[in-house]
Symmetry: D2
Subunit: 153 residues, 4 copies
């Protein structure tokens, strides 16, 4: 069971490096909310691809010692929308409308690496795949839809 | 947009009230981890149905003031497995293997009410539907599969 | 395992009876293509709900004597989009963008009854649930998204 | 928008070439049922990967001239289970329990190429990804679960 890293991504009309840098900066030590609870940091953003990482700390485990599935789901949801921002018009909104996740292997320790890959992007909608690996082993695979909401002029 | 509360549930061979009570007790003020972060309390368990509630507090919002989708996903994941425990053999494990969630309306404040309903249950697998409402409005609808892992004798 | 018939549907601004009648007429004995192969007839359309039926004939079974899962998937896909047409602006297009289906019980004979229920509808997008029963028993449950594409003026 | 062909697959304990050959032979000119209607031929099977192809003929289109989404769904369902047979114990059954499909681009003509890739396989369950391309363009992407049912001794 290995990650499918390296899958080709489509070409995109636009990639805003400043937006990408802003995303990285917004995931730091001071970040609160769900992202802070998850301990997510963005470690790479390229056109159509985003990688985020988090440590598997005790607070994320169930009483049985496994990573709570909800953590994988929340991480998946988060990167699914983030990967779009550098690709869409400034001021536009990437609204995740749905996703589906399969859990493939239990996680107990180490680090999570979530990789979001844009499979398709039109003016209105994008489809994104998210794989989370745990120390090199595929822990979950997901696929979701993001609605691109552009500001009215 | 209303909840589909009241959908019929199948009949089940077994419902362990003690397990149900234990689940309720395990979701309290002292609970840590993801469940504690979400602030989830179980407010009702009947055969094939479980209701949990949480307040929408600021820590669960994105910087844009909307509830983070990952919160809905994590809540969904959590109740999806919990609803099975009173129905399965003691010592058995309810392992959520996958789910799919549609986000239907943005959430900004108030309370979340997550209702899990078992659509089918065999010896090996169950299908569960989860709807989350926000002050009476349907916020997300999900459907997932749980593998019933029985201890080897 | 029973159908969740009777779930409440949201209120809709518009329901075009002529469009509904046209849909029924388009699913007849002469209908070709996939719909003809499936043998689907629409037996009821009300605002936000559509029921279609088909006989489980030998041609729809696998060599092992079970209904091919692809038949349930195709039926699901079909009614998922159809239920929207009477609700959306004339000339608009209901483009199914994704769905997820769980198969709950094997089907070997009798009739299929597919019921599509609109869970939410905005100007741009709808979420629809589809349940297929086989002689009263829930055979599959699905949930999907439809993009409402309005003609440009 | 390109296919993600070339994704790595896990290693498998077993690959039965005879079963693979039997699958190819069972998808021929004489094949009836849904597979015959779809016109599916298997063009390659390797451990954890299966490729099937079909021509986009008029009978598979909607009255609007687009390939019926149900065709993509049915093709997806079919290859999702088939890819497992050479990997599982002889006499075991690969029962697709659920899948989720995103439609990425409309299809009007040419050929479909469906590729199923096994992401994970345990004794009880497998997760499979299916991508359908239309003349090199990604038309749909799916992910599903297969239950491996072994005969009782």
């Amino acid at each position: 069971m290995t990650s499918t890293d390296g899958a080709p991504v489509p070409a995109f009309e636009r990639f805003d490096q400043q937006t990408a840098d802003g995303l990285v900066a917004a995931h730091g030590a001071e970040t609160g909310g769900l992202v802070g609870f998850l301990g997510l940091r963005i470690t790479a953003i390229t056109p159509g691809r985003l990688v985020a990482e988090a440590a598997v700390r005790d607070e994320l485990l169930t009483p049985f010692g496994n990573l709570h599935g909800g953590v994988l789901a929340a991480v998946t949801d988060h990167v699914l929308g983030c990967v779009l921002y550098p690709l869409i018009e400034q001021g536009a909104w990437a609204a995740t409308t749905e996703f589906k996740v399969n859990y493939l292997a239990p996680v107990r320790e180490g680090a999570l690496r979530a990789e979001a890959t844009v499979l398709s992007l039109t003016r209105r909608t994008a489809v994104v795949r998210v794989e989370v690996t745990n120390d090199g082993r595929l822990a979950s695979a997901a696929q979701g839809t993001v609605l691109v909401v552009t500001p009215r002029s």
